[in-house]
Symmetry: C2
Subunit: 137 residues, 2 copies
DNA sequence: TTGCGTGCAAAGGTTTTGCATGGCA
DNA sequence: TGCCATGCAAAACCTTTGCACGCAA
């Protein structure tokens, strides 16, 4: 962790532009590599992983671990959430694998509750709720 | 998934006894293998993984995926929770890595809320709340 | 006897790392 | 120029799988 990017490199810019262009989607490191191959851009996979890690540290993207043995996925941070004050939660269906975005004020209260009552500072960006979606349950 | 155990083998019994003896702790597949090596028992790692999977399917143990690139961990199901009706939540500190057990009725309500309002059937066994614990925040 | 469970070894997939080179400031 | 970032390849890591043998029922 930690390594904040200090240099503005071509690779970083391309990566950022791509992630921004697919904001709202969940992208794996492999997706990124495939995209670059498609574009004829040559970016090593280690660079992809290292830049993704930096971007997570900087709060520019979020990282979600959905499942053991499926790759981590990344998502451009929704800037609107700062404006509206809405927290975005993630629900993951264990059956069909769907990842659902959820904005819900009542759920937002649990962060306060965990802090007030249990001294735990919830990181909503990292937390994923597992269960069954409407179609699968 | 699916493969319910049909045979009662020596390996399964030893594994179960061990897991029961460390109920409340979070055990990785590797911990199990190490324990057996210590005991002079010869159990293949594939057996460990396969039995753990069966036990999860049977609801005898739970599986938690805490983090990318840290192994899945398993935990003997707390039988009391069926009696008391308390749901056990898991809080994971992103800084020190500590995994905290939490019994909280208010939190239990979020399962109902997700179901009533969002048609999502929460799986509290799988869901891990990320954030910062008291000491680290 | 039947067929599930086991053990070993090998494969699989994701992510990390070592090291020399390249490029930003 | 100084140092960080990059790229390649190899390694590390956890987990799954193929196959022959063993063992529970």
């Amino acid at each position: 962790m930690n390594s904040r990017s200090k240099y503005k490199t071509k690779q970083r810019e391309i990566l950022l532009t791509y992630l921004e262009s697919v904001a709202g989607e969940h992208i794996t490191a492999n997706d990124v590599c495939a995209y670059f191959k498609e574009q004829g851009e040559n970016i090593g996979q280690s660079t992809v992983y290292r830049q993704l890690e930096s971007l997570v540290d900087e709060g520019i993207i979020n990282k979600y671990i959905i499942d053991a043995n499926s790759p981590a996925c990344f998502e451009y941070v929704d800037k609107d959430s700062h404006v509206t004050g809405h927290t975005c939660f993630h629900l993951k269906c264990e059956k069909c694998g769907k990842l659902i975005h959820l904005h819900c004020d009542e759920l937002s209260d649990i962060g306060d509750h965990l802090y007030d009552e249990h001294n735990f500072r919830l990181d909503t960006k990292r937390t994923v709720f597992y269960g069954l979606c409407e179609e699968c349950s």
